[in-house]
Assembly symmetry: C2
């Protein structure tokens, strides 16, 4: 088997090169499409400049954060500077891996933003010619982000392991990716909802001007928000999940050596991780390349069918690989396939709860007739219920992957779960493409309106936009399901890290985390409360930040003469709103992130490695529950508002519509700020725990 390792690395790097080359090709293709309308060019340039302002500021603050983290990493990890085991090169490797994690993720995010902000205007103009060209520009623009994220993350994980040959160092890389994701996803989430809520409150509610009216000083910030929140933020989140899934699978594969006593097993399993990731990337390329609306098709069908193509190709390719390579187990293939199938099922059930052609959304719309309290109550209730199928799906896939792989040896059971997560995330390139498509066509719709491209074009843009919303539900279910499985394997990775430390201390090894042990229970309860507090802090952050922006908008309408009346040549100071959203987002995010990290440290120093095991599990369980609840409730409120606006239950302007708008406003920070940021919070906390395990083991108050 040893001989096949270089081959595997070749396959991995080959697939990366292929993906990046294809991404460059798609980018050039998008750039070749014309954009002639002057207003669209102008506004599109403003959006691009705004997004860059946010990204620059975000990366600058991240650089300070990362510098502090790098110093701490060097002092403490993997072995503290004062310990006998300290090796300067090892600690330095950790720092290098960490920085590589942040930088590579940042590069992927930046690439996504560049393409997204140059696709939006082009997609709007192409909509004049028909739905197919506009769809292709939106989708291929998104696909650049998808390919960049997956290609660069695989490159990073493989590169770090090849360079340092130590999976503990890989954890450092993963932590770097998580640090960036925390800023990009949670920060971007606060930015986008600050702008959205402020624009709606002042524009639609106070002044009664349309959604994308250029007189509104927040309108550009709102469009920038779609890009930094839904493109860059979502990309960084999935970069992080993908790296975490691969890294924890690698840590578990390595620990199998100790369990089975053979280096062969370890190598075969490490090889499998990379092979599956590479084949997932190739499957995504095929799925992306074949996406077309075709005759009689709709954008929704096109997006979904390319997801299914990718999944099918992946299953076939991994089966072929299992057939060809010695040491690749069919049971592991089974676990990975289970993960993928369950991912699709979770996506479909999510869709049931958030699709406005299905009963749930319509019931919430109907409840809105009795007033906004009933919109909120029914949305909260169905949001809670919607978490059940996904929780069952994750639970069943974990159990199935475990039972399928158990005959290989008990240690393999956990590795099976890790591979189910890798399987679920195998099509992540496709998922990101679909997800990034959303904000591009959302922007395109706004640009079509601002550029005055006419009713027909706007109608086409609307159809593309609505497909983005529908598909989002499915992909979001995937992302959350994968995160659920990944974190179990992260917990496994944490345990092997903690045991290395305990062995060095000559202490009893951890064989598991027994919930009957009150030390574990102690961690479990506190861990479960953290996602709730984290989400609350983000939501309150949006709230505070929106108040600042609303005050600024009021000031501009008061002080800039002719703005309210729309006097030609008078323009609002868009950049001031962008600056408020930017600095506020980063200011509100930091306390939430620190709270989660400090809680981890406190629990670790009080209860030691066992308490941390409970803490992580509590965090995962309540985090999954709350993120499913918030994402789905937000989605169903959004769509029930759209359902009412389409003329149902009284239509626009009715009492039901007012109530539905309240539901949508409540749901906005749920689904775009707090809900999706919880994943990142869980990963950050898991990695902090893994990295600190040796220190917790050595110096906790209790054991």
């Amino acid at each position: 088997m040893d001989a096949s390792m270089p081959l595997i690395y070749c396959v991995a790097f080959f697939s990366v090169v292929l993906a990046l080359a294809f991404a460059v090709y798609l980018h050039l293709w998008v750039k070749r499409q014309p954009v002639e309308n002057r207003t669209i060019r102008e506004v599109s340039a403003l959006i691009k400049a705004g997004a860059n302002t946010f990204m620059r500021k975000e990366y600058r603050i991240l650089a300070i954060f990362a510098a502090v983290a790098a110093v701490l990493l060097f002092i403490f990890l993997p072995n503290p500077i004062w310990s006998a085991e300290f090796e300067a090169t090892k600690n330095l490797s950790m720092v290098v891996a960490y920085i590589a994690g942040t930088v590579l993720s940042a590069i992927a995010g930046k690439m996504g933003i560049i393409v997204a902000t140059s696709s939006n205007g082009r997609s709007a103009e192409a909509a004049q010619k028909g739905i197919e060209p506009a769809f292709l520009i939106g989708f291929r623009g998104g696909a650049v982000m998808g390919l960049a994220v997956v290609g660069i993350s695989l490159f990073g994980v493989a590169g770090v392991l090849l360079l340092f040959g130590d999976t503990t160092i890989s954890l450092g890389f993963s932590f770097g990716a998580s640090s960036l994701a925390l800023f990009a996803k949670a920060g971007g989430g606060i930015f986008t909802k600050t702008a959205d809520v402020s624009a709606d409150l002042t524009g639609k509610v106070e002044l009664g001007i349309p959604e994308d009216d250029p007189r509104n000083p927040a309108v550009i910030a709102d469009n920038v928000g779609d890009n930094v929140g839904d493109v860059a933020g979502m990309g960084a989140d999935l970069f992080d999940s993908n790296v975490a899934a691969m890294t924890s699978a690698l840590v578990l594969a390595t620990s199998l050596e100790a369990a089975t006593g053979t280096a062969t097993a370890q190598l075969a399993n490490v090889a499998m991780v990379f092979m599956y990731a590479a084949l997932g990337l190739i499957a995504s390329i095929i799925g992306i390349a074949t996406a077309r609306i075709g005759k009689g098709g709709t954008p929704t069908k096109a997006l979904n069918s390319s997801t299914y193509v990718t999944s099918g190709v992946f299953v076939v390719l991994t089966a072929l690989a299992t057939l060809l390579f010695e040491g690749f187990s069919w049971r592991i293939w089974g676990a990975s396939t289970v993960g993928l199938v369950v991912g699709v099922i979770i996506g479909l059930t999510t869709d049931y709860f958030t699709d406005d052609t299905k009963p749930i959304v319509q019931r919430v719309a109907h409840a809105s007739r009795s007033g906004s309290a009933f919109t909120v109550l029914s949305g909260v209730s169905y949001g809670f219920i919607s978490a059940l199928p996904a929780m069952i799906g994750i639970a069943v896939s974990a159990l199935a992957a475990y039972k399928i792989c158990e005959p290989l040896g008990t240690q393999y059971a956990l590795f099976g779960i890790a591979m189910a997560a890798v399987g679920m995330l195998s099509i992540v390139g496709m998922i990101i493409s679909n997800d990034a498509y959303g904000p591009i066509v959302d922007n395109a719709r706004g640009l079509a309106e601002m550029g005055g491209l006419g009713e027909d074009t706007i109608r086409i843009a609307d159809e593309l936009d609505s497909a983005g919303n529908t598909v989002k539900a499915v992909t979001k279910g995937f992302a959350i399901g994968a995160a659920g499985l990944t974190v179990i394997s992260l917990l496994g990775a944490y345990m092997s890290e903690a045991n290395v430390a305990l062995q060095a201390l000559g202490r009893e090894l951890i064989t598991g985390f027994d919930i009957m042990n009150p030390v574990v229970f102690f961690g479990l309860l506190i861990g479960a409360a953290i996602p709730a507090v984290f989400s609350a802090m983000l939501i309150l952050g949006v709230d505070k930040n929106a108040q600042r922006m609303v005050a600024e908008i009021h000031r501009q309408f008061r002080e800039i003469r002719g703005l309210r009346e729309g006097k030609p040549g008078v323009k609002p100071e868009y950049d001031r709103c962008i600056n408020i959203a930017t600095s506020g987002a980063l200011r509100e995010l930091i306390p939430a992130g620190l709270m989660a990290i400090v809680a981890t440290l406190l629990v670790g120093f009080i209860g030691g490695p066992l308490a941390i095991g409970g803490f992580l599990m509590g965090n995962i369980v309540s985090g999954l529950l709350l993120s499913l609840f918030m994402s789905n409730a937000g989605g169903l409120w959004d769509n029930s508002k759209k359902y009412v606006e389409a003329g149902n239950e009284g239509g626009k302007g009715s009492e039901a519509h007012k109530a539905a708008v309240v539901g949508d406003t409540v749901g906005d920070p749920f689904k775009d700020t707090a809900g999706p940021s919880i994943n990142t919070q869980i990963t950050v906390v898991s990695l902090v725990a893994s990295l600190m395990s040796a220190i917790f083991a050595a110096s906790s108050l209790f054991h």
Copy 2:
């Protein structure tokens, strides 16, 4: 030590007799107070009749449910009829204990309702003479319920153990109490909010008539709801928690025999459980007897200070008992005292989040200025944050109790936690008194208004009512904290039950539930989703039921001539509204209860005893989080509405007020239906699991 057991039973039964005698004395004292106003007498009689209608119907449906459960118990438990270990007398004992559990809890609830519905009018009239007499009637009326619940529950637990001498049979008694609590708490919760929401929607919102206007057909149902939800429901809930805490402590005390190899230890520990319960009852009697407003005092201070008196007396009495009795450990005393102290701390932090003189409530009121979406968002956020201190409190008290008792032997650690729960619940008599005081004076306020007792009397009634709201927050924190600790010991009880079964099957014993084991994880995830689904079903039930009642109210206003105009002699058909609330509540409740039980059975038959361990823990952790969130968010919305109505942020009729009303309406089913019912759901599920453990062990798909 053997010699001291009869003594302990004597102490227990003596305290029960003392408590019941004191309850009878208080009841007679209340009955001696005059009630002369004719309207008050009439309305008070209507409320009493309405409450009896609900209780009768509830008990009738419960009887059917209990009959089915009794047959199933006889067939299956403790050993199935077809198994070699089956003994008819044992299974019959189980049935008897189960029925005793339902009947005794029903009697306690009935006593509470009788006194509460005869105290309300008397308290209203006494308010004409001043605050002290009105307070005393309200408080002593509530105290009858408190003493009845605690006295009868101790009587039942001690009686069942004395009679059958087997703690497995005690679980049957506990399950009986839980069955009743499920109907009383969740059913009563749906009833009370159905009536409240319908009365507000039709009265205040549509017709603009005041809260307690007798023209509104739902007004009596609303007052009945206070009694059946907050008096009978809350009493049944705490009866259940108290029995569960004692029972699980007894199961653990018995299993200590196996661990320590001496029957002495078992007896001393069983004796401690009863002694602590008895002393808690005596402490509550002293606390109740000394409650007075006094010079310069307020009702809030009086209620809180009698809680502190009870706590102090309990700590001193248990210390004395530890000094006097051989085999009573100081470490156990320490654990119980920790439980009590943490209970007080949880209560105080809850108060911080829900008291309108403190910043949180005021911030939510301020956010209401921007519209109802912001009321909801800020309330949800602070509700989430408010769960943290209580979760930390429960976590810390479990850890502290464990560490304090660990030196006695590892098996004692879990018993220590059980005794911390017993300690926290020791003052439950006092807690129920305070809690039942609330609806009595709430009713009194309404009666004072309907009876035309004048401004001054209403002002006094208002002050008493508001004290009830403030104190409720503290006692609710106590109840949730105690439930949190109780369920850990229930989990311990479940494990010993499962091990008895596994031993009989010759299988490996369970030493704990390792969250790294995917079978446990499987249960954990599904268990965590259940409280969310359960709450959602109850909230949707209130929703549906309220729609039916609103339709009925509209019909009455349409068809009964002169009703809307308030023509003298024209009365609405109050009983129709009461009937709708009653049958709807029971109809909506059953699916939610069955869902929780069926989920337990499915997880048990698929994953076996290990999966059930995870299931229970997931249920506990997410149940605690959600019930704290919903109870506190509901309380803070309620109080922020009151804060606005007191003239802040624009006062009554302002935009902020409208938004605050939406918050209050959302919060109503949160805090009075779903939030407090989750405790009961957790206990029911835990007991089903314990009772079914042998069957799960024998016939699950996986192990």
